[in-house]
Amino acid sequence: MHDIFSRDPDPLDGMLCPPSPTDDEALRQMVYTRTRRVLHRRRRLRQFAYAAGLLLSFAVGAGAMRLTISGERGRVSAPSSQTASESSNKPLGALTRPRSPQSDDSALTQEWIAFDSEDHRGELYRQAGDRYMTEENDLQSALRCFSNALDNGAEEDLAISSDDSWLLMAIKDARQKEKKHAKQGG
């Protein structure tokens, strides 16, 4: 191929030709180290943002749970604080009376038994809550029962036990914190 620049001597060729190569290893290493620092800083920032995001979502979750618990307690624990005879002619909100407590052996029946009972009410609610969780996977009802169980139980029932389900543990933990905050606040 004809190439005019390969055979045309001109001082411009000398100016435009690349300078002779040098050993740029020191520069290469130095610049690499600096760019790596930028990468590290960016990674640390990302990790920090991730941790902050986790913390935020945990706080939002805890807040939502607290709201749910206090809402449920407001709805369901009101009748449970009354005697069965007093509450029998009042609406129960989320609960509706089942077919017949004696006719089947469901978690709902167990809850009604707890509701109607005078003694060991807390324990019966707890059992109902466990059954909602294990047999029916109904977390909403289990939450209601556990809340009632704690409302009707003694103060020492708030202590977390290894027999507790994760939901009950979470409710107990929230209650303990609530109590602690109330004490600190007033």
């Binding site: 191929m1 435009l16 520069l27 760019t35 990302r46």
Partner: protein
């Protein structure tokens, strides 16, 4: 390497670097360092100190702005060259302002001073060229490519490339002489 393979490879490396993979950065860096340095040195008329500074600044900008690198729009090397051109332009402006304001008290030996002056003028002339002239001179002189090769890449005839080279060289000559 085919263009698709290059795009795919650079896209993966970019993604990995943005995810914090240091090794991916090392690969990009090692693959492009020598080419970028040679280009910057050429654009600096052989002034190594300036080339070192510009190269360093270019890489630091590149690592900070890697998110804006789009492999489908051009190669990593071309993207780096684009950054380097901007850095060079800024350097050149700063140097010009400084030269107007001050004159060095400890003058260099005459030969060294002349050589430096010539390098400055080459750098200034290259910086003043329109991008298409600069690109064709780079392919010819820095990359050492033949007219036929350049023509194939640009999708033009060898005659058109020869003509473009002639005009680019003439523009360079004019810029060089004007800076006298």
């Amino acid at each position: 390497m085919r263009a698709d393979d290059r795009v795919q490879r650079e896209r993966e490396l970019r993604r990995a670097v943005l995810a914090g993979e240091e090794l991916a950065w090392r690969m990009l860096y090692d693959g492009a360092f020598a080419g970028l340095y040679a280009y910057v040195l050429w654009r600096c008329g052989g002034l190594r100190e300036r080339a070192d500074e510009v190269t360093q600044e270019t890489w630091l900008i590149a690592v900070r702005r890697l998110r804006s690198f789009d492999p489908s729009a051009g190669s990593f090397a071309a993207w780096l060259r684009g950054i380097a051109v901007n850095v060079l332009r800024n350097h050149f402006r700063r140097e010009t302002r400084r030269a107007r304001r001050t004159r060095p008290l400890d003058a260099e030996p005459i030969a060294a001073e002349e050589s430096r002056e010539q390098a400055e003028r080459i750098a200034a002339a290259l910086a003043a060229l329109p991008p298409h002239y600069e690109a064709v001179l780079r392919m010819k002189y820095l990359d050492g490519r033949s007219v036929a090769d350049i023509a194939a890449e640009r999708g033009e005839s060898p005659k058109a490339v020869e003509s473009l080279l002639t005009r680019a060289r003439e523009a360079f000559r004019q810029e060089y002489l004007q800076s006298e």
